[in-house]
Amino acid sequence: MFGPRLLAVLLPLLTLAPACSGGDAFSDFRGTPEDYHDLAVESVRSPDDVRDAALEHLEDLDPEVRFAAFYALTITAEPGPSMDALAERLGSEDPDERLLASASLVSRGGKDGLPVLIAALGSTEVMPRLDPPTETCQYAQFVLTQYTDQDLGLRAAQGAKAAAAVMPAWEKWFAENGSELRWDPAEQRFAG
């Protein structure tokens, strides 16, 4: 098909192609543990580049890449499109997306994530991508006590049933104080 001389010209170009094709943190992403590790390293070391690339891959056809892009945003998000993208996941049916988005927002002072976490108290739905897979109530319990100045019996709650029992108190607290909550950067939590 190609003459030897033409091949000699094309081969170096083909070899160079991947490096010149705008390859990002998600190029050749297979979802292996090493891929996720490398993605996390890149997210920490070059957050701007990874954030931009993640936004482009949020609707990738490959579900593993889609999740990886979302995961990268939980590390790199900042006010603007990236936090908006996380906020869009607050209504996701996927418990990993819904809870991780809410926690990521809350840890950055985004109080929109709080109602999602409160609603998860008492739920035994499992977040299968976490290591170890964790019930949403257990995850919400950790995040709420980590990033608010409230306890309302939650810290001592053992298991979904006990967490469900304190959920009304948390709902009441947020209904009464949600609009006044302010993020305290020094204390790394919301205070009413």
């Binding site: 891929d35 920490v44 006590t145 810290r155 790394q188």
Partner: protein, 373 residues
């Protein structure tokens, strides 16, 4: 693939090729043994953790390194108090040092990047082979952790102790997992508590990694003793005792441990005695293991009730009445991991004669074919 994982794999291949223990020099999770206490130290360099704050179990804001250390140590060490490994008590010491983002991994310390995301641990949280492995004991390991709950930290440190996950993926899209049969509600499956199985697996990994733990010998000594007066043969008291022994034998044959003796039934005497009868004695045990026998002495640490003595003479017989030094008890090793025999003791002091027959049997679960000492 991380540079160090690649380097480890290359070193494994090279090691296999030239017959050297792969990555041995690049330590890792380390183990030290003192008596029956086995201390596991997990050294972690943590790029990007510097300046972070987390709320601990008490709600206090502490540094990231304190949070990781406290979370892992409290969960594991509480469990180690409840669940021993053979005759050993395991203890965990986690040593976390925050490092700059671009810090290069160094030999001898695991490197865990703090990725400040909401997913505490996901795939790649600790890069190691699947399943239980001795790899963290022989090679430093890489990983990345986000905002982990205390249970999450303990789970990830479990990987640095060599434990694999106790759950499996049952579908990829959507991803679903389930605990391995029988492992529900345990730390490496779903964040439940640490159970005896996990502790035993860690102990087994320690020995598989090449750490030579002392031998554990446990067993009982059943004693029948009599106390008589030569100038008054009508005077006679008898007691029976059962003593639980637990000793370790280190590589040089030194034997040490403890024992608890309990009075079986009451004392039988030919006439009334006003001094209270001793019912429980705690001993320290010292001695030496030889190829063909165990030799040890019992030294009293405590006796109950206070101010009591043993009318049956047992306590007299295990001490020389001349110099009050403990008498040496010797039993032959009759088979691999079995030492048993009867030891007859008699101590005469003036007209007082104490005599005991002590049937001792000790077994060693962990003894290997090579000789002791």
């Amino acid at each position: 693939m991380s540079a160090r994982l690649r380097a480890v794999m290359v070193s494994v291949l090279l090691g296999a090729q030239i017959g050297l223990p792969a990555g041995r020099a690049e330590a890792k999770t380390t183990v030290s043994v003192k008596g029956t206490v086995v201390t596991i130290t997990v050294p972690i360099d943590a790029p990007n953790l510097e300046g972070t704050k987390f709320r601990n179990a008490d709600g206090d804001l502490v540094s990231g390194e304190e949070y990781w250390e406290q979370s892992a140590e409290s969960i594991w060490n509480e469990a180690f108090k409840l669940h021993g490994y053979r005759c050993f008590e395991l203890r965990l010491n986690v040593d976390v040092t925050p490092r700059p983002i671009d810090y290069e991994a160094v030999p001898g310390r695991h490197q865990i990047l703090y990725a400040n995301g909401s997913a505490g641990g996901i795939k790649g949280s600790v890069l190691k082979p699947n399943g239980d492995t001795t790899a963290p004991f022989t090679n430093a390991t890489d990983g990345m952790w986000g905002n982990l709950s205390p249970t999450g930290v303990a789970h990830e440190v479990g990987h640095l102790l060599g434990l694999g996950d106790d759950y499996r993926e049952v579908s990829q899209n959507p991803r679903k997992t389930e605990p391995i049969d029988g492992r529900q509600h345990t730390l490496m499956a779903d964040g439940g508590p640490v159970d005896q199985v996990l502790v035993d697996r860690i102990g087994d990994l320690i020995t598989k990694s090449g750490v030579k733990l002392p031998q554990c010998w446990t067993g009982t000594m059943k004693t029948s003793s009599d106390y008589t007066l030569t100038d008054n043969p009508a005077f006679r008291c008898s007691t029976d005792w059962e003593t639980a022994l637990s000793v370790v034998v280190s590589g040089d044959g030194t034997l040490s441990g403890d024992a608890v003796a309990t009075l079986v039934g009451g004392r039988e005497c030919t006439h009334p005695i006003s001094v209270p009868q001793t019912t429980l004695v705690v001993y320290s045990v010292t001695g030496h293991a030889f190829d063909d026998r165990l030799e040890f002495q019992l030294d009293i640490v405590d006796a109950e009730p206070p101010g009591s003595n043993d009318a049956g003479g047992f306590l007299r017989t295990i001490f020389s009445q001349n110099d009050l030094a403990p008498v040496s008890l010797m039993i032959p090793i009759t088979a691999l991991g079995v030492a048993e025999g009867d030891v007859e003791l008699e101590e005469v002091s003036g007209v007082n004669v104490g005599a005991s027959v002590n049937s001792i049997r000790l077994t060693c679960e962990s003894c290997e074919p090579e000789a002791v000492g």
